[in-house]
């Protein structure tokens, strides 16, 4: 089998905040009835976490689960476990109306770290990046410049961002440019 690599090959930028390739991540799109107990059970089996609230992200030792829409979740697991998790879901939900797809290689995950992470994103996304508008543990799907992204904060100074692989290099360059040292207004800082 070929060796899996991320689109960013471990890229890193140190500026007003750090922008880095978060590495390979197993990502599974799971669509179905989020109110269904069987679906909740497969989520629990995959990441040992309960169903997230609308727009919520739950993170644990085994992985993470993000609410993407009223009928869609994103499961995040170890990269090399993704296919096994998908087969497990396919087996458990056989006959039901659902969809589980390994999208790991279709995406790029970036990690931004520093006091100004909200301000870097606010330069290009039409989203409320204040702590009230985007509390820690809440995912926001929107655009950054012209491309679709999703991001959430797991901590006041750590932001995770997912975009399509095809625009990964562009998003990395965009973020690096937006994170030039001395370029942040210092308005949306954590307390």
């Amino acid at each position: 089998m070929s060796e899996a690599v991320t689109a960013l090959r471990g890229a890193n930028f140190d500026g007003a905040v750090t922008v880095s390739d978060a590495g390979l991540r197993g990502m599974i799109t799971l669509r179905g009835d989020l109110g269904d107990e069987k679906l909740a059970a497969v989520v629990k089996a995959a990441v040992r976490l309960g169903m997230p609230k609308p727009r919520g992200v739950k993170e644990g030792a085994k992985g993470a689960v993000a609410w993407m829409s009223p009928d869609e979740l994103l499961l995040m697991v170890d990269y090399d476990k993704a296919d096994a998790v998908v087969s497990g879901i396919d087996k458990a939900l056989k006959g039901d109306h659902f969809l589980a797809v390994n999208v790991s290689d279709a995406r790029v995950v970036l990690r931004l770290e520093g006091q100004g992470v909200r301000e870097v994103i606010a330069k290009g996304a039409p989203a409320d990046l204040s702590p009230e508008g985007l509390p820690i543990g809440e995912i926001r799907r929107t655009r950054l410049g012209q491309v679709a992204v999703a991001f959430w904060l797991s901590d006041a100074e750590i932001l995770h961002l997912i975009c399509f692989r095809s625009v990964g290099a562009h998003v990395f360059n965009w973020l690096s440019n937006a994170a030039q040292a001395g370029s942040l207004p210092g308005f949306l800082r954590p307390d």
Partner: protein, 108 residues
Amino acid sequence: MLILTCPYCGINADETDLHGDGEAHIPRQGAGAAEDDFEAYLFHKKNPRGVHFERWRHVFGCGKWFHAARDTMTLEVFGTYKAQTFEPPKALINKIKKKRLDWEGYMK
């Protein structure tokens, strides 16, 4: 700038996060339709100056289609509601009537 609240994910979405798709609640005319009906379906839009009911999609967000009622002249947004309906909710119509006393009401 137009901001609409997506009734599916609750986000106050900026217009640039959305895709507008024109008039809402248009009954579909299929292959067996009369020519006049099909022409009207494709081309005859209300296009009012004032209260209008529209389809929008939260395209950069949760991806869902929804409906919005707004004033095309002032850009005032009266409300948004889910797509699983053939006409605007009664409560929203009443709300608009109170704000626009000269409005003729929702017409199919």
